[in-house]
Amino acid sequence: MSQIKLPEDFVTYPEARKKAFMALKALKESGRRVVGTYCTYTPQELVDAADATPVSLCAIGEENIPPAEKVLPKNLCPLIKASFGGAVSDRCPFYYFSDMVLAETTCDGKKKMYEYLGKMKHTHVMQLPPGRTGEGALAFWKLEMEALRRDLENFYGITITDEKLRQAIKLRNRERKAILNYYEVGTLKPSPISGYELNTIITSNEYAFDIEKKIAFLEKRTAELIEKYHAECEGKPSRPRILISGCPTHGVIDKVIKRIEELGADVVGFENCCGPREKKDPVDETKDPITALAEKYLRVNCSVMSPNPGRLEALGEQIDDYKVDGVIEVVLMACHTYAIESSAVKEYVTKEKGIPFLSITTDYSTTDQGQIDTRLGAFIELLG
């Protein structure tokens, strides 16, 4: 069995976050506009076109739960609680440095939480249609794109030109490609990189503030990893290969992702918002930019959409492309939409794709680490 692969310059998730924070501080001091965001539905290109930097706000950390529970109910998804808790307690430096927040009405918990969040700082909440196929959904979403454009213009006292939007779309499409290629290193068997590292670079914000630099870094890292694969890994036996699905997992990266690898399997891919979920699907560069953005950002395969058939298709493709031996779905406690989709996902993975499936429900606390370890361990044992 091969060892867990960590490069010499390996950084842990918290270290990467710290670096990101220092970089943001410098950026802010240089007078740059900063917009805080939470979700994959956020049209980053509109923020870019306002000459602002979109940053992902903290939605992790057990320590962010108690301040949130002063206002929010206990029985709520930890991601929502940590988002709110990080913001109200000033523990999320990214929130602290944001001029405004850009959010969407995704799940019920989030949209109601934003009502409280909006009392502290200007928060623009885009109204997301509940399904992508509904009549009028696209037209409505397009109006929401336009409303966001106007709000950004008013808030900053600027004009967002179509030209700026087009540039932003081109740049972000290049970034998408770089991120996708990087994630697809995971398709190599055996994988030359741990899932933990794969994920840390992308979800930690570490390289978020200079897209050109980020692209260059990712291209370099991807090339190094491919080289490493040919030099050290090719032809060697592989540990069981796991694909992660379900809710965002950056809040449980130590508790689940790292543990899977410590217990003897490789996390090779992510079919969730911590992975390349929307990266395969660029914004159309030929259309009117607002239309193109509205179309693109309605195609995100999230369980908040009903129906959400794109998720199973994407999952199937990833199972094949990443040569996956088993799927582990992570459902955050009290996330109804993913919990409900779980049965359909299990059915699809075990019946149509014919590979084992494990669903675990957990939160950001460490109290259930023992139970989680037993489930993960048993699942890896059954993969042999």
């Binding site: 084992p356 023992g370 361990g377 048993a378 059954l382």
Partner: protein
């Protein structure tokens, strides 16, 4: 002689099985886990030495929630895999659905061709576990075995709380209202069986031979109620409480190879 030793340190009991080369059980040990798994593991080692185990010819696999606390184990294997393997050995079949009602958790394990295919474990909650039965028996001032006997003569009561703590207050208020012990006991067993059946609904039990392992396997009434609710025959046998340890001992034989 070679010794294949399986040690299953559960939340309430530690079970140890020693198999010889031909996979016959030569020793069975059962003791409470106590407050320290490490001490329990030490005590097991002493006991095995007394019984004449030759450590130079022994392979040890530890399982159960205290599996990491057995310093002399050659390997740790999860209780899911061990229970699956052990049950196949005990019930003489490679295709099984195993219902294990343990002290702190309930597991449902599907085994196909001797390999675990799927499993479900209850979440951070003691409803539907041995602990639940134990607490309710305490409240009624009887032993768990007595509770099951009483339940057979009762009926008509159902306990609605899924949480053990709330269920306990429910039982106390039933006692206060003068409800008979038999009827309350019926409600307790009914609650466990329903909880297990809900979990089982997520697996296709109809396709399997179903068996009951774990500490509650020798309560015939519980088994009958399970059969009725799940609508499938449920097998049990006295060694089934050692299923995890037997599975671990079988794994020990494989470690040696």
């Amino acid at each position: 002689m070679k010794y294949n030793i399986g040690i299953d340190i559960g939340s309430t009991c530690a079970k140890t099985i020693v198999l010889n080369e031909t996979k016959e059980i030569i020793h069975r040990l059962l003791q409470p886990t106590g407050w320290s798994s490490v001490e329990t593991a030490g005590a097991i080692r002493e006991k095995l030495t007394e019984l004449g185990v030759d450590w130079d010819n022994a392979a040890v696999v530890a399982t159960g929630y205290g599996r990491i606390s057995v310093p002399y184990a050659d390997k740790c294997v999860t209780e899911i895999t061990c229970h699956g393997r052990g049950a196949c050995h005990i019930f003489g079949s490679d295709n099984l659905a195993v219902i294990d009602i343990g002290g702190q958790d309930t597991k449902l394990i599907c085994v196909e061709d001797g390999m675990v295919k799927d499993f479900i474990m209850n979440d951070k909650c003691s409803a539907g576990t041995g602990k639940f039965l134990e607490i309710m028996a305490n409240t009624l001032a009887v032993s768990p075995a007595q509770l099951c006997e009483l339940a057979e003569k009762g009926g008509g009561v159902s306990i609605s709380s899924m949480c053990t703590v709330f269920a306990e207050s429910e039982v106390i208020s039933l006692i206060g209202r003068g409800e008979s012990k038999e009827n309350i006991a019926f409600g307790v067993v009914d609650s466990i069986v329903k909880k297990v059946a809900t979990q089982a609904g997520r697996l296709n039990l109809q396709d399997f031979k179903v068996c009951l392992t774990g500490g509650l396997c020798d309560f015939p009434y519980l088994r009958q109620r399970l059969e009725k609710t799940l609508n499938v025959p449920v097998d049990a046998c006295p060694d089934a409480r050692y299923a995890g340890a037997i599975g671990a001992a079988l794994s020990a034989a494989a470690v040696r190879k």
